[in-house]
């Protein structure tokens, strides 16, 4: 496909791992941030930026590019890591996350950093923005694709469902919505906080083609991306584990919104294969 740094499955797996290590280092250095969700989406970031998406890091405004919208803006560390690895900006800059004067704002800000298409961070809005991008592509008769990642807890925001209704109504077949179904939000399990299930049935009822797959299997994510509907928007539910890749972070809500302390960081980096 169109990705400039096309990687095969093994390369993508390694890239997901590199993204995780960056996330640990960035958030530890910042002393805050959201590592858990960044790690549950690491494979998706790798697959999109290194296989599926048509884009050019050397020309971020290339008019024929596919566009990615991170609706769950708090997992910006994962996105920034992928963008840096792809070549949008120097990898060294990742450690400026959340610091005064940095282009790497706590949540993605359009205009500050190359590769950021819209400003997100307030949950429930990225899907509406993605619909706008998808409509614009249709008006301009471009065959570019729009990819949007929403969190599962984020689907509690009603605006998502307004946007889904619109996406189906206008048959936005150039829009793919990924749901990071890691089943955890700040206060606990999504199903105990406010039930999201039956998620696939809900998305289907709203008029989307729904694919459910293992969000940590790069081959399966790529396969799902090849199976998107030609006539309707597609939702790909990625079944994931929050904090994936580090034993003590997995399924631990503590790491939704806090970074590793120095000893935890060392342990996490060891588990991920050490600094490369």
């Amino acid at each position: 496909m169109g990705s400039p740094n096309g990687l095969d499955a093994n390369g993508l797996k390694r890239m997901a791992n590199r993204i995780r290590m960056h996330v640990i280092e960035m958030t530890s250095e910042a002393g805050s941030g959201h590592p858990g969700g960044s790690m549950s989406s690491a494979e998706l970031f790798a697959v999109l930026y290194f296989n599926v998406m048509r884009h050019d890091p050397k020309d971020p405004d290339w008019p024929e590019r596919d566009k990615f919208v991170l609706s769950k803006g708090h997992v910006a560390p994962g996105l920034y890591a992928a963008l840096a690895e792809a070549g949008y900006f120097p990898v060294d800059e990742l450690l400026t996350l959340r610091k005064m004067g940095s282009r790497l704002q706590g949540h993605p800000a359009k205009g500050k950093l190359p590769g950021i298409e819209v400003s997100t961070g307030s949950l429930g809005q990225g899907l509406s923005m993605s619909c706008g991008l998808a409509l614009a592509a249709k008006l301009d008769k471009k065959d570019t694709r729009i990819f949007c990642l929403v969190g599962d807890g984020e689907l509690q925001e009603g605006q998502n469902w307004e946007a889904l209704m619109l996406a189906a109504h206008y048959k936005l077949n150039n829009l793919t919505v990924f749901v990071d179904r890691n089943r955890l939000q700040i206060m606990g399990c999504t199903e105990e906080t406010l039930s999201i299930d039956p998620l696939a049935a809900k998305l289907k009822a709203f008029g989307l083609k729904v694919i459910s797959t293992d969000g940590h299997n790069v081959k399966k994510i790529m396969a799902a991306c090849r199976k998107v509907s030609l006539t309707a928007p597609t939702a790909i539910i990625l079944n994931t584990v929050k904090g994936k890749g580090v034993s003590f972070m997995e399924n631990n809500i503590d790491f939704h919104g806090r970074s590793c302390k120095p000893d935890e960081k060392e342990k996490a980096m060891r588990e991920l294969g050490g600094a490369q």
């Binding site: 800000a109 359009k110 205009g111 298409e117 819209v118 400003s119 997100t120 961070g121 307030s122 809005q125 990225g126 899907l127 509406s128 923005m129 993605s130 619909c131 706008g132 991008l133 998808a134 409509l135 614009a136 592509a137 008006l139 301009d140 009603g158 605006q159 307004e162 946007a163 209704m165 619109l166 109504h169 206008y170």
Partner: protein
């Protein structure tokens, strides 16, 4: 006096703008009222019906603008600003996108629909947003010219218009420059600063004050943000007192903007005519304007009161 509804002229302006391919118009199921339906007649493919979903409308507008479109999003002022304020903040104002939120049905003169539909806080909440330009034209001619001006302006804009027919007080080809106030009448004893249809009340008040031997200057502030501070300071330097008049709460609107400007730069006695921190109700527009203190007489009384407060400078 000839009257016309601002929204009709908004529809006319959009129709002319339809020849520009970058213009996209969004509606939340009120297009016949806001007159975006006129645009739909001539550029159907660039008229996008969002349904009754204002929050989504703002997000979609942001996405379209991020892809290079100039987007007009219209509905009633309460819903256009209040229902989706945080969406406007996050998706439009923060990234400084080219979205024009143009609302109708502002103020108490909405009438029978009552308090739920009478926007009296919209200027306040839009004015508080960084990067946002806030426009409030005085009549239909100015609404037309302002629509053309915001279409050429790079960045987020909010424009408020009324529902009812307002008297025409500006020339047919009135020029509209964002950020410029207009001195409608020169005077020396008091400055009457109006916005929207209250500019008409200020002009009428100036007539009534003239009959009492008081010379009133009238300024039309059709851009509330950025405020034309120079025009206001220049006028009060001469008159030494001012009255603001708006179909909006006295909290956060034109009166507050002028009070901030005067407190910062030239402390001056000021009276604010507006809705006094209360909700409206159903009724005929004229009855409501009277009950809520928005008539020409209210402006006259405020002017007489503020003149009494002037300090005599030796």
């Amino acid at each position: 006096m000839k009257k016309a509804a601002q929204r009709i002229y908004y529809g006319k302006a959009l129709t002319e703008l339809a020849s520009r391919n970058d213009i996209v118009v969004l509606d939340a199921d009120l297009g016949w009222s806001t007159r975006t339906s006129d645009f739909a007649k001539v550029a159907k493919e660039r008229f996008i019906q969002i349904g009754i979903a204002e929050q989504n409308m703002i997000g979609v507008a942001a996405g379209l603008a991020a892809a290079g479109k100039t987007v007009f999003a219209s509905t009633f002022a309460v819903f256009a600003t209040g229902r989706c304020w945080e969406q406007i903040r996050q998706a439009v104002a923060y990234p400084k996108l080219n979205v024009k939120i143009v609302a109708t049905h502002c103020g108490i003169s909405v009438g029978g629909d009552g308090a739920s539909h009478q926007a009296l806080e919209d200027i306040a909440i839009m004015r508080a947003l960084p990067n946002m330009t806030v426009i409030s034209p005085a009549d239909a001619n100015e609404a037309y010219a302002a629509t053309m001006a915001i279409a050429d302006h790079e960045g987020p804009c909010y424009m408020r218009m009324g529902r009812a027919d307002f008297p025409i007080i500006t020339p047919e080809n009135v020029k509209f420059e964002i950020g410029k106030a207009t001195v409608m009448r020169e005077g020396k004893d008091v400055t009457l600063i109006g916005t929207g249809q209250m500019v008409t009340s200020c002009l009428e008040a100036a007539d009534a004050l003239g009959e009492k031997g008081i010379s009133a200057e009238v300024i039309n502030v059709s851009t509330i943000k950025p405020l034309d501070a120079e025009a206001i300071i220049t006028s009060v330097s001469k008159t030494k007192c001012a009255v603001t008049a708006e179909e909006h709460s006295i909290i956060g609107g034109l009166g507050s903007a002028v009070a901030e400007c005067l407190a910062d730069r030239r402390p001056t006695p000021l009276e604010r005519v507006g809705v006094n921190d209360t909700f409206g109700e159903s009724g005929e527009p004229n009855e409501l304007m009277k009950k809520y203190g928005l008539t020409t007489d209210d402006v006259v009384n405020a002017a007489e009161n503020v003149i009494k407060r002037k300090k005599v400078r030796k």
